[in-house]
């Protein structure tokens, strides 16, 4: 039996490197981890600040004022029906615009456009996506409202839900188009080829094969678009007006959750007198946050379904 020659054996220890070098590595690791964990801190801060003020708000007001009497925060009337109706009408109109336009653009870019045409047409969607929402608000108020809405219905108000809805729709369309296009492009070529092999035409292949194969990604695109439309602020704040009365009429002004928040913020100094008016901001913010979070989680589920399959 030979004695173990200790000095020449390569142990795990001798491979782990200088302690100083390892310490530095560990510190860097922790720093990066801290940066990543910061996102959790931020989310927690968002939820905490929203929840705390929202509960203070609910404790301070008469709860029956949440469901009657219109939306007049300075007069302590916080009728949620008004702002939820406004949000629903605007989001509905926006999706009527962004759904067909976005999906149409996505299908054309993914299935019909050859690479050269795509290079020319894709930037249209990209430039549209880069336009700030205030600019679309300006456009909705000063062009869509007089040139489209008031031509459709001469008795329409200058500030109206329809113009704001169309503006939000144009804003959301690029998002719908790009998410849906990703879904369509991730459908394997083999499915299309199989369909052509059976003698199907381009249109039947697109509608009966590619579209169903990508349907969960397309649903995700629409839900994501809806979530963005609900949270859109500046177009609504400029073009929808600020009526506090309950109204379903798209030709009349209305109030949305985001619009109500912007109005409260602009009114800044006058609001300071009433504590619950400021706190209502957080309550509405919390409702908005939960709605968009739910929609985003649902759409994430749908996207994952596409990824799993291919």
């Amino acid at each position: 039996m030979a004695q173990a020659t200790v000095d020449r054996t390569v142990t795990l220890e001798s491979l782990t490197g200088a302690p100083k070098r390892r310490r530095k590595e560990a510190i860097i690791h922790r720093l990066f981890q801290a940066a990543a964990a910061l996102s959790i801190v931020l989310s927690a801060l968002i939820v905490l600040s929203l929840v705390r003020e929202a509960f203070a708000f609910l404790a301070a007001i008469d709860l029956s004022s949440l469901w009657a009497g219109g939306w007049y925060p300075r007069r302590s009337a916080f009728d949620l029906r008004v702002i939820i109706t406004g949000t629903a009408v605007i989001a509905g109109i926006a999706m009527l615009v962004a759904g067909p336009l976005g999906l149409g653009a996505a299908i054309y870019l993914s299935e019909y456009a050859n690479p050269r045409v795509r290079r020319i047409l894709k930037p249209i969607v990209e430039i549209l996506a880069g336009i700030p929402s205030v600019v679309l608000g300006f456009f909705a108020l000063l062009w869509i409202s007089p040139e489209i809405v008031q031509r459709l219905n001469p008795s329409a108000s200058f500030f109206n839900l329809l113009a704001a809805g169309i503006g939000v729709g144009i804003l959301v369309m690029p998002l719908v188009a790009s998410v849906a296009e990703d879904a369509l492009r991730s459908v394997p070529m083999a499915l299309r080829e199989a369909s052509y092999g059976l003698g199907a035409r381009k249109m039947s292949t697109t509608i009966r094969v590619v579209f169903p194969a990508a349907v969960s990604g397309i649903v995700a695109a629409l839900i994501l678009g809806l979530s963005r439309a609900i949270g859109e602020t500046m177009v609504v704040a400029l073009a929808a007006g600020s009526s506090g009365a309950l109204s379903f009429d798209p030709f009349q002004p209305g109030q949305t959750m985001t619009g109500a928040m912007a109005q409260l913020a602009i009114g800044g100094d006058q609001v300071k007198g009433s504590v619950s008016a400021v706190q209502s901001l957080y309550f509405v913010g919390l409702v908005l946050f939960l709605m968009t979070l739910a929609l985003n989680i649902i759409s994430e589920r749908f996207v994952r379904r596409v990824r799993q399959r291919y």
């Binding site: 070098r21 720093l31 054309y108 205030v134 608000g137 300006f138 602020t233 979070l293």
Partner: protein, 311 residues
Amino acid sequence: MVVRAEKLPTSDIVAAHLSGKRADIKGILFQTALLMSLMLALLFLIVLLTEVLISALPVFQERGLQSFLEGSLSGFPDRAGVSQALYGSGMLMLFVVLFAFPLGVAAAIYLEEYAVDTRFNRFITVNIRNLAGVPSVVFGLLGLAIFVGALRSLTGGSSLIAGGLTLAVLVLPIVIITSSEALRAVPQSIREAGYGVGATKWEVIRSHVLPSAAPGIFTGTILAVSRAIGEAAPILLVGAVTGLLGQAQGGFLDQMQGRFTAMPIVIFEWTKEANTEFKALASAGIVVLMAIILLTNAAAIFLRNKYERKW
């Protein structure tokens, strides 16, 4: 084997279909309809841009670009300009770059290079993705509660610091996501080569991974900044000034803790004014803002096309 020459009734139909000269009218209509949706988007874009340019023209013709850029917020449309808004937007972007860029890239490095598949790390990823979907107004509420409220002694209330930090938090998830994608695109073999010559993890990242991913990371950051520059809602909630703003005074810190305004806020304010002269000012402001955004986006695309490597 004998090939049957007998003609089946179906073969006529098949032959007709295979050689069909019939125009596929439905197909053409479908394709046209799809193209129309893109053309409608293009039409909106063109109308928007021409409308803005036409309505901005009087401002640039009568006063000149310089007078508009140098003027400050004013109740008199013929003297009002965007100097304070440009300064405010510039400073806000400085904060975004100073905070969101290092933190975002560090978080992306952790998620792509260090994180193993634990529940905690998965939670971070899901959380970042959800954070990216939170409406921008809600970030404004966060800024109002934390940066304006809780940290008032540090930020000085509704100040440039508070607004800048709010926007930095807003774009942080976007920076993390785009940087992660850029890091993921670096092939594993590059890392293995580094480990093979005895480099530690950080050495591999610093000397191999980051240089390869840099174009993607910079492009993503520039795009995030150009998104932040157009955001009005969050800084409106934080308390950007929509009316008149005094000349900034005091030292650098005092200015940073002072009240502020920004390009999208000024445009918002002028659009709301009933007066047509202010509408013209709003259009002129939009022209300036869009020029800045298009230039930054063009820079990002140029950077991507010039330096991006395909592995």
